[in-house]
Symmetry: C2
Subunit: 234 residues, 2 copies
Protein backbone atom coordinates (compact mmCIF):
# COMPACT_ATOMS: atom_id res chain seq x y z
CA UNK A 1 0.00 0.00 0.00
CA UNK A 2 0.96 3.64 -0.04
CA UNK A 3 3.82 5.05 1.97
CA UNK A 4 1.68 7.71 3.52
CA UNK A 5 -0.74 5.25 4.97
CA UNK A 6 -0.26 6.65 8.44
CA UNK A 7 -1.71 9.98 7.42
CA UNK A 8 -3.50 9.16 4.24
CA UNK A 9 -5.50 5.99 4.28
CA UNK A 10 -6.32 4.42 0.99
CA UNK A 11 -9.90 3.37 0.92
CA UNK A 12 -10.39 1.61 -2.35
CA UNK A 13 -11.07 2.22 -5.94
CA UNK A 14 -13.68 4.86 -6.46
CA UNK A 15 -16.89 4.01 -8.24
CA UNK A 16 -17.48 7.28 -10.04
CA UNK A 17 -20.63 6.17 -11.75
CA UNK A 18 -22.40 5.81 -8.43
CA UNK A 19 -20.66 8.63 -6.63
CA UNK A 20 -22.85 10.26 -4.03
CA UNK A 21 -21.63 13.73 -4.85
CA UNK A 22 -21.26 13.18 -8.53
CA UNK A 23 -23.53 16.07 -9.41
CA UNK A 24 -21.12 18.36 -7.58
CA UNK A 25 -17.91 16.84 -8.78
CA UNK A 26 -15.59 17.11 -11.70
CA UNK A 27 -17.30 14.26 -13.53
CA UNK A 28 -20.80 15.60 -13.12
CA UNK A 29 -21.35 16.07 -16.86
CA UNK A 30 -19.96 12.74 -17.99
CA UNK A 31 -22.27 10.28 -19.68
CA UNK A 32 -22.12 6.54 -19.61
CA UNK A 33 -19.84 5.99 -22.64
CA UNK A 34 -17.32 8.53 -21.33
CA UNK A 35 -16.41 6.30 -18.43
CA UNK A 36 -14.77 3.90 -20.86
CA UNK A 37 -11.93 6.41 -21.19
CA UNK A 38 -10.96 6.08 -17.57
CA UNK A 39 -7.98 3.79 -18.00
CA UNK A 40 -6.21 4.37 -14.70
CA UNK A 41 -7.58 3.75 -11.23
CA UNK A 42 -9.22 6.55 -9.33
CA UNK A 43 -8.42 6.10 -5.68
CA UNK A 44 -10.42 7.10 -2.71
CA UNK A 45 -8.12 8.50 -0.06
CA UNK A 46 -8.85 9.66 3.44
CA UNK A 47 -6.58 12.42 4.72
CA UNK A 48 -6.27 12.99 8.43
CA UNK A 49 -6.42 16.55 9.79
CA UNK A 50 -3.17 18.33 9.06
CA UNK A 51 -1.91 15.94 6.41
CA UNK A 52 -1.08 17.13 2.93
CA UNK A 53 -2.71 16.08 -0.32
CA UNK A 54 0.33 17.49 -2.09
CA UNK A 55 3.05 20.06 -1.64
CA UNK A 56 3.90 23.20 -3.50
CA UNK A 57 6.46 22.42 -6.18
CA UNK A 58 5.63 18.72 -6.44
CA UNK A 59 5.11 17.59 -10.01
CA UNK A 60 1.38 17.55 -10.53
CA UNK A 61 0.42 13.94 -11.06
CA UNK A 62 -3.20 14.01 -10.01
CA UNK A 63 -6.25 16.10 -9.40
CA UNK A 64 -8.23 15.65 -6.18
CA UNK A 65 -11.93 15.91 -5.68
CA UNK A 66 -12.94 16.76 -2.15
CA UNK A 67 -15.80 14.53 -1.07
CA UNK A 68 -16.04 15.43 2.59
CA UNK A 69 -14.23 17.74 4.94
CA UNK A 70 -12.32 20.88 4.20
CA UNK A 71 -8.98 21.49 2.50
CA UNK A 72 -6.83 24.60 2.71
CA UNK A 73 -4.55 25.79 -0.07
CA UNK A 74 -1.47 27.31 1.45
CA UNK A 75 1.33 29.49 0.19
CA UNK A 76 4.44 30.01 2.22
CA UNK A 77 5.88 33.49 2.40
CA UNK A 78 9.47 34.61 2.37
CA UNK A 79 9.53 34.95 6.17
CA UNK A 80 8.32 31.40 6.68
CA UNK A 81 4.80 32.30 7.63
CA UNK A 82 1.87 31.02 5.67
CA UNK A 83 -1.07 32.53 3.91
CA UNK A 84 -4.14 30.50 3.12
CA UNK A 85 -5.36 31.50 -0.31
CA UNK A 86 -8.44 29.36 -0.65
CA UNK A 87 -10.62 26.79 1.04
CA UNK A 88 -12.00 23.76 -0.76
CA UNK A 89 -15.28 22.19 0.23
CA UNK A 90 -17.04 19.05 -0.84
CA UNK A 91 -17.39 19.07 -4.59
CA UNK A 92 -14.38 21.32 -5.12
CA UNK A 93 -11.30 20.27 -7.03
CA UNK A 94 -7.71 20.62 -5.87
CA UNK A 95 -4.62 20.68 -8.03
CA UNK A 96 -6.14 21.51 -11.40
CA UNK A 97 -2.75 22.78 -12.52
CA UNK A 98 -1.71 19.15 -12.80
CA UNK A 99 -3.86 18.88 -15.92
CA UNK A 100 -1.60 21.45 -17.55
CA UNK A 101 1.43 19.36 -16.68
CA UNK A 102 2.62 21.87 -14.13
CA UNK A 103 3.88 21.72 -10.61
CA UNK A 104 1.44 22.30 -7.80
CA UNK A 105 1.07 25.96 -6.95
CA UNK A 106 0.14 25.39 -3.33
CA UNK A 107 0.38 22.97 -0.51
CA UNK A 108 -3.03 21.41 0.05
CA UNK A 109 -3.72 20.41 3.63
CA UNK A 110 -6.77 18.76 5.12
CA UNK A 111 -8.45 20.73 7.88
CA UNK A 112 -10.54 18.24 9.80
CA UNK A 113 -10.48 14.85 8.08
CA UNK A 114 -11.13 14.88 4.36
CA UNK A 115 -12.20 12.11 2.06
CA UNK A 116 -10.95 12.67 -1.46
CA UNK A 117 -10.78 11.02 -4.85
CA UNK A 118 -7.39 11.04 -6.47
CA UNK A 119 -7.75 11.24 -10.22
CA UNK A 120 -4.56 10.71 -12.21
CA UNK A 121 -3.66 13.53 -14.51
CA UNK A 122 -3.81 11.33 -17.61
CA UNK A 123 -7.41 10.40 -16.93
CA UNK A 124 -8.51 14.01 -16.96
CA UNK A 125 -6.36 14.78 -19.97
CA UNK A 126 -7.75 11.93 -21.97
CA UNK A 127 -11.33 12.62 -21.00
CA UNK A 128 -10.90 16.23 -21.90
CA UNK A 129 -9.62 15.21 -25.33
CA UNK A 130 -12.48 12.81 -25.86
CA UNK A 131 -15.45 14.74 -24.63
CA UNK A 132 -16.32 18.41 -24.85
CA UNK A 133 -18.37 17.98 -21.71
CA UNK A 134 -15.22 17.38 -19.74
CA UNK A 135 -13.62 20.34 -21.41
CA UNK A 136 -16.43 22.63 -20.48
CA UNK A 137 -16.38 21.31 -16.95
CA UNK A 138 -12.68 22.04 -16.62
CA UNK A 139 -13.17 25.59 -17.76
CA UNK A 140 -15.95 25.97 -15.22
CA UNK A 141 -13.64 24.73 -12.52
CA UNK A 142 -10.97 27.16 -13.48
CA UNK A 143 -13.37 30.00 -13.44
CA UNK A 144 -14.66 28.92 -10.10
CA UNK A 145 -11.13 29.09 -8.76
CA UNK A 146 -10.66 32.59 -10.07
CA UNK A 147 -13.95 33.69 -8.68
CA UNK A 148 -13.16 32.26 -5.31
CA UNK A 149 -9.75 33.87 -5.34
CA UNK A 150 -11.28 37.24 -6.08
CA UNK A 151 -13.92 36.81 -3.42
CA UNK A 152 -11.24 35.81 -0.96
CA UNK A 153 -9.37 39.01 -1.64
CA UNK A 154 -12.33 41.32 -1.51
CA UNK A 155 -14.12 39.78 1.41
CA UNK A 156 -11.45 38.26 3.60
CA UNK A 157 -8.55 40.63 2.96
CA UNK A 158 -10.37 43.92 2.94
CA UNK A 159 -11.62 46.10 5.75
CA UNK A 160 -11.08 45.79 9.47
CA UNK A 161 -10.29 42.56 11.23
CA UNK A 162 -13.71 42.29 12.84
CA UNK A 163 -15.43 42.55 9.49
CA UNK A 164 -13.12 39.91 8.08
CA UNK A 165 -13.80 37.45 10.84
CA UNK A 166 -17.51 38.05 10.46
CA UNK A 167 -17.31 37.46 6.71
CA UNK A 168 -15.31 34.30 7.20
CA UNK A 169 -17.90 32.88 9.53
CA UNK A 170 -20.71 33.83 7.19
CA UNK A 171 -18.80 32.21 4.35
CA UNK A 172 -18.45 29.01 6.32
CA UNK A 173 -22.15 28.86 7.01
CA UNK A 174 -23.06 29.63 3.41
CA UNK A 175 -24.87 26.75 1.84
CA UNK A 176 -25.44 24.88 5.09
CA UNK A 177 -28.89 26.14 6.02
CA UNK A 178 -27.65 25.94 9.56
CA UNK A 179 -26.62 28.75 11.88
CA UNK A 180 -23.94 26.58 13.43
CA UNK A 181 -20.40 26.94 12.34
CA UNK A 182 -17.23 24.97 12.92
CA UNK A 183 -14.21 27.23 13.19
CA UNK A 184 -10.59 26.20 13.04
CA UNK A 185 -7.44 26.99 14.92
CA UNK A 186 -6.79 30.66 15.44
CA UNK A 187 -3.54 30.41 13.56
CA UNK A 188 -5.35 29.18 10.47
CA UNK A 189 -7.96 31.87 10.86
CA UNK A 190 -5.24 34.47 11.01
CA UNK A 191 -3.57 33.04 7.92
CA UNK A 192 -6.85 33.24 6.04
CA UNK A 193 -7.57 36.80 7.05
CA UNK A 194 -4.11 38.26 6.95
CA UNK A 195 -4.03 39.09 10.64
CA UNK A 196 -2.09 37.67 13.56
CA UNK A 197 -3.18 34.70 15.59
CA UNK A 198 -3.76 36.95 18.58
CA UNK A 199 -6.02 39.29 16.69
CA UNK A 200 -8.08 36.39 15.42
CA UNK A 201 -8.34 35.02 18.93
CA UNK A 202 -9.30 38.35 20.44
CA UNK A 203 -12.06 38.91 17.96
CA UNK A 204 -13.56 35.46 18.37
CA UNK A 205 -13.41 35.97 22.13
CA UNK A 206 -15.08 39.34 21.78
CA UNK A 207 -17.85 37.93 19.61
CA UNK A 208 -18.39 35.31 22.21
CA UNK A 209 -18.62 37.83 25.04
CA UNK A 210 -21.12 39.81 22.99
CA UNK A 211 -23.21 36.71 22.44
CA UNK A 212 -22.72 36.81 18.68
CA UNK A 213 -21.08 33.41 18.95
CA UNK A 214 -22.00 30.83 21.56
CA UNK A 215 -19.89 27.78 22.03
CA UNK A 216 -21.58 24.50 21.31
CA UNK A 217 -18.54 22.30 21.34
CA UNK A 218 -14.83 22.40 20.57
CA UNK A 219 -14.56 25.15 17.99
CA UNK A 220 -18.20 24.80 17.20
CA UNK A 221 -20.36 27.86 17.59
CA UNK A 222 -23.93 28.94 17.14
CA UNK A 223 -23.94 32.24 15.29
CA UNK A 224 -26.08 35.34 15.37
CA UNK A 225 -26.22 35.79 11.62
CA UNK A 226 -27.84 39.22 11.69
CA UNK A 227 -25.12 40.66 13.89
CA UNK A 228 -22.41 39.10 11.80
CA UNK A 229 -23.90 40.63 8.70
CA UNK A 230 -24.04 44.01 10.33
CA UNK A 231 -20.39 43.77 11.33
CA UNK A 232 -19.29 42.42 8.00
CA UNK A 233 -20.83 45.33 6.18
CA UNK A 234 -19.23 48.12 8.18
Amino acid sequence: MRGKSIEAAWRGQAECRNCGIRDLALFSDLREPDFAHIHLPIEEIQFEPGSALYHVGDPGQAVFTVRTGLVKLVRYLADGSQRIVRLLRPGDTAGLEAVLGQEYEHTAIALRGALTCRIPREVVTRLSEETPRMHAQLMQRWQQSVRQADAWLTSLSTGGAKARVARLILLLMEGTGDTECALFGREDMGAMLGVTTETASRIVAEFRREGILSERGPNLYACDVASLQRISGG
Copy 2:
Protein backbone atom coordinates in the same frame (compact mmCIF):
# COMPACT_ATOMS: atom_id res chain seq x y z
CA MET B 1 -19.73 53.32 -35.45
CA ARG B 2 -19.78 52.42 -31.80
CA GLY B 3 -21.57 54.47 -29.22
CA LYS B 4 -18.57 54.70 -26.99
CA SER B 5 -16.46 56.35 -29.62
CA ILE B 6 -15.75 59.32 -27.37
CA GLU B 7 -13.89 57.15 -24.93
CA ALA B 8 -13.19 54.09 -26.97
CA ALA B 9 -11.97 54.71 -30.47
CA TRP B 10 -12.43 51.98 -32.98
CA ARG B 11 -9.29 51.54 -34.98
CA GLY B 12 -10.10 48.93 -37.56
CA GLN B 13 -10.32 45.25 -38.05
CA ALA B 14 -7.47 43.42 -36.48
CA GLU B 15 -5.14 41.37 -38.62
CA CYS B 16 -4.40 38.57 -36.18
CA ARG B 17 -2.14 36.67 -38.53
CA ASN B 18 0.36 39.50 -38.52
CA CYS B 19 -0.19 40.67 -34.97
CA GLY B 20 2.89 42.13 -33.42
CA ILE B 21 2.24 40.54 -30.06
CA ARG B 22 0.77 37.35 -31.37
CA ASP B 23 3.27 35.18 -29.56
CA LEU B 24 1.99 36.67 -26.30
CA ALA B 25 -1.66 36.69 -27.11
CA LEU B 26 -4.60 34.38 -26.93
CA PHE B 27 -4.10 33.21 -30.49
CA SER B 28 -0.42 32.45 -30.13
CA ASP B 29 -0.83 28.74 -30.79
CA LEU B 30 -3.15 28.98 -33.76
CA ARG B 31 -1.97 27.69 -37.12
CA GLU B 32 -2.85 28.97 -40.53
CA PRO B 33 -5.93 26.81 -41.15
CA ASP B 34 -7.41 27.76 -37.79
CA PHE B 35 -7.93 31.32 -38.88
CA ALA B 36 -10.64 30.15 -41.25
CA HIS B 37 -12.87 29.65 -38.22
CA ILE B 38 -12.88 33.32 -37.35
CA HIS B 39 -16.26 34.23 -38.74
CA LEU B 40 -16.88 37.48 -36.89
CA PRO B 41 -14.76 40.61 -36.99
CA ILE B 42 -12.12 41.18 -34.37
CA GLU B 43 -11.96 44.86 -33.65
CA GLU B 44 -9.04 46.89 -32.53
CA ILE B 45 -10.19 49.39 -29.94
CA GLN B 46 -8.29 52.12 -28.19
CA PHE B 47 -9.48 52.92 -24.68
CA GLU B 48 -8.64 56.25 -23.15
CA PRO B 49 -7.41 56.39 -19.55
CA GLY B 50 -10.29 55.82 -17.18
CA SER B 51 -12.69 54.35 -19.70
CA ALA B 52 -14.18 50.91 -19.23
CA LEU B 53 -13.77 47.90 -21.48
CA TYR B 54 -16.82 46.45 -19.77
CA HIS B 55 -18.71 46.61 -16.51
CA VAL B 56 -19.39 44.08 -13.83
CA GLY B 57 -22.70 42.37 -14.50
CA ASP B 58 -22.75 43.10 -18.23
CA PRO B 59 -23.47 40.02 -20.29
CA GLY B 60 -20.10 38.80 -21.51
CA GLN B 61 -20.12 39.25 -25.26
CA ALA B 62 -16.43 39.45 -25.96
CA VAL B 63 -12.96 38.75 -24.71
CA PHE B 64 -10.30 41.46 -24.88
CA THR B 65 -6.64 41.09 -25.54
CA VAL B 66 -4.54 43.89 -24.15
CA ARG B 67 -2.02 45.01 -26.75
CA THR B 68 -0.59 48.08 -25.07
CA GLY B 69 -1.14 49.92 -21.83
CA LEU B 70 -2.52 48.64 -18.57
CA VAL B 71 -5.98 47.55 -17.49
CA LYS B 72 -7.31 47.23 -13.97
CA LEU B 73 -9.96 44.73 -12.93
CA VAL B 74 -12.13 46.30 -10.27
CA ARG B 75 -14.66 45.01 -7.80
CA TYR B 76 -16.91 47.38 -5.96
CA LEU B 77 -17.50 46.77 -2.30
CA ALA B 78 -20.63 47.13 -0.24
CA ASP B 79 -19.56 50.55 1.03
CA GLY B 80 -19.04 51.89 -2.48
CA SER B 81 -15.26 51.77 -2.39
CA GLN B 82 -13.33 49.75 -4.88
CA ARG B 83 -10.73 47.03 -4.72
CA ILE B 84 -8.48 46.31 -7.66
CA VAL B 85 -8.08 42.56 -7.92
CA ARG B 86 -5.72 42.28 -10.85
CA LEU B 87 -3.75 44.21 -13.40
CA LEU B 88 -3.58 43.21 -17.04
CA ARG B 89 -0.57 43.93 -19.16
CA PRO B 90 0.14 43.56 -22.85
CA GLY B 91 -0.55 39.99 -23.86
CA ASP B 92 -3.06 39.43 -21.07
CA THR B 93 -6.70 38.60 -21.65
CA ALA B 94 -9.68 40.32 -20.05
CA GLY B 95 -13.16 38.93 -19.68
CA LEU B 96 -12.51 35.23 -20.16
CA GLU B 97 -15.73 34.48 -18.31
CA ALA B 98 -17.53 35.57 -21.47
CA VAL B 99 -16.44 32.32 -23.10
CA LEU B 100 -18.48 30.48 -20.50
CA GLY B 101 -21.51 32.55 -21.37
CA GLN B 102 -21.40 34.37 -18.06
CA GLU B 103 -21.65 37.93 -16.96
CA TYR B 104 -18.46 39.86 -16.42
CA GLU B 105 -17.11 39.44 -12.94
CA HIS B 106 -15.35 42.79 -12.80
CA THR B 107 -15.31 46.19 -14.28
CA ALA B 108 -12.27 46.52 -16.53
CA ILE B 109 -10.85 50.02 -16.75
CA ALA B 110 -7.91 51.28 -18.76
CA LEU B 111 -5.15 52.88 -16.71
CA ARG B 112 -3.18 55.01 -19.13
CA GLY B 113 -4.41 54.48 -22.67
CA ALA B 114 -4.84 50.90 -23.77
CA LEU B 115 -5.04 49.39 -27.21
CA THR B 116 -7.07 46.21 -27.22
CA CYS B 117 -8.49 43.62 -29.54
CA ARG B 118 -12.11 42.81 -28.98
CA ILE B 119 -12.78 39.18 -29.82
CA PRO B 120 -16.44 38.16 -29.93
CA ARG B 121 -17.35 35.36 -27.64
CA GLU B 122 -18.50 33.12 -30.48
CA VAL B 123 -15.13 33.30 -32.18
CA VAL B 124 -13.36 31.93 -29.16
CA THR B 125 -16.07 29.35 -28.58
CA ARG B 126 -15.90 28.08 -32.12
CA LEU B 127 -12.12 28.04 -32.22
CA SER B 128 -12.04 26.17 -28.99
CA GLU B 129 -14.38 23.56 -30.43
CA GLU B 130 -12.35 23.23 -33.59
CA THR B 131 -8.82 23.16 -32.33
CA PRO B 132 -7.33 21.62 -29.22
CA ARG B 133 -4.61 24.24 -29.40
CA MET B 134 -7.13 26.91 -28.59
CA HIS B 135 -8.48 24.78 -25.81
CA ALA B 136 -5.12 24.35 -24.25
CA GLN B 137 -4.44 28.04 -24.58
CA LEU B 138 -7.67 28.89 -22.78
CA MET B 139 -6.79 26.62 -19.91
CA GLN B 140 -3.41 28.27 -19.70
CA ARG B 141 -5.08 31.65 -19.54
CA TRP B 142 -7.37 30.56 -16.78
CA GLN B 143 -4.50 29.22 -14.81
CA GLN B 144 -2.59 32.39 -15.34
CA SER B 145 -5.50 34.31 -13.85
CA VAL B 146 -5.60 32.09 -10.81
CA ARG B 147 -1.88 32.36 -10.37
CA GLN B 148 -2.00 36.10 -10.62
CA ALA B 149 -4.88 36.28 -8.19
CA ASP B 150 -2.93 34.22 -5.67
CA ALA B 151 0.17 36.30 -6.15
CA TRP B 152 -1.85 39.45 -5.72
CA LEU B 153 -3.13 38.18 -2.40
CA THR B 154 0.16 36.97 -1.05
CA SER B 155 2.33 39.81 -2.24
CA LEU B 156 0.10 42.87 -2.36
CA SER B 157 -2.30 42.14 0.47
CA THR B 158 0.07 40.72 3.02
CA GLY B 159 2.46 42.41 5.42
CA GLY B 160 2.90 46.07 6.21
CA ALA B 161 1.97 48.87 3.87
CA LYS B 162 5.58 49.76 3.07
CA ALA B 163 6.32 46.21 2.00
CA ARG B 164 3.22 46.18 -0.16
CA VAL B 165 4.12 49.38 -1.95
CA ALA B 166 7.62 48.08 -2.52
CA ARG B 167 6.30 44.83 -3.95
CA LEU B 168 3.89 46.65 -6.21
CA ILE B 169 6.68 48.75 -7.66
CA LEU B 170 8.86 45.70 -8.14
CA LEU B 171 5.96 43.96 -9.82
CA LEU B 172 5.50 46.84 -12.20
CA MET B 173 9.13 46.77 -13.20
CA GLU B 174 9.18 43.03 -13.62
CA GLY B 175 9.84 42.09 -17.20
CA THR B 176 10.92 45.56 -18.28
CA GLY B 177 14.67 45.32 -17.83
CA ASP B 178 14.44 48.93 -16.79
CA THR B 179 14.70 50.42 -13.30
CA GLU B 180 12.15 53.09 -14.20
CA CYS B 181 8.59 52.68 -13.17
CA ALA B 182 5.35 54.47 -13.99
CA LEU B 183 3.06 54.64 -10.98
CA PHE B 184 -0.60 55.57 -10.95
CA GLY B 185 -2.88 57.68 -8.89
CA ARG B 186 -2.60 57.16 -5.16
CA GLU B 187 -6.20 56.16 -4.96
CA ASP B 188 -5.60 53.30 -7.38
CA MET B 189 -2.49 52.30 -5.52
CA GLY B 190 -4.47 52.18 -2.33
CA ALA B 191 -7.18 50.09 -3.96
CA MET B 192 -4.56 47.63 -5.16
CA LEU B 193 -2.87 47.31 -1.79
CA GLY B 194 -5.86 47.43 0.49
CA VAL B 195 -4.76 50.63 2.21
CA THR B 196 -6.08 54.17 2.17
CA THR B 197 -5.12 56.78 -0.38
CA GLU B 198 -3.30 58.73 2.29
CA THR B 199 -1.21 55.77 3.37
CA ALA B 200 -0.21 55.08 -0.22
CA SER B 201 0.71 58.71 -0.67
CA ARG B 202 2.69 58.90 2.53
CA ILE B 203 4.73 55.87 1.65
CA VAL B 204 5.56 57.02 -1.84
CA ALA B 205 6.54 60.38 -0.40
CA GLU B 206 8.70 58.68 2.19
CA PHE B 207 10.42 56.54 -0.43
CA ARG B 208 11.10 59.68 -2.36
CA ARG B 209 12.62 61.44 0.61
CA GLU B 210 14.80 58.44 1.25
CA GLY B 211 15.98 58.44 -2.35
CA ILE B 212 14.52 55.03 -3.07
CA LEU B 213 12.37 56.67 -5.70
CA SER B 214 13.42 59.70 -7.71
CA GLU B 215 10.94 61.53 -9.83
CA ARG B 216 11.66 61.54 -13.52
CA GLY B 217 8.33 62.87 -14.71
CA PRO B 218 4.69 62.88 -13.77
CA ASN B 219 4.30 59.68 -11.77
CA LEU B 220 7.43 58.30 -13.34
CA TYR B 221 10.18 57.26 -10.99
CA ALA B 222 13.62 55.79 -11.08
CA CYS B 223 13.80 53.05 -8.47
CA ASP B 224 16.46 51.74 -6.16
CA VAL B 225 15.66 48.11 -6.71
CA ALA B 226 17.91 46.77 -3.99
CA SER B 227 16.25 48.91 -1.34
CA LEU B 228 12.82 47.99 -2.56
CA GLN B 229 13.69 44.34 -2.34
CA ARG B 230 14.96 44.79 1.17
CA ILE B 231 11.76 46.55 2.22
CA SER B 232 9.53 44.09 0.42
CA GLY B 233 11.10 41.20 2.27
CA GLY B 234 10.74 42.63 5.77
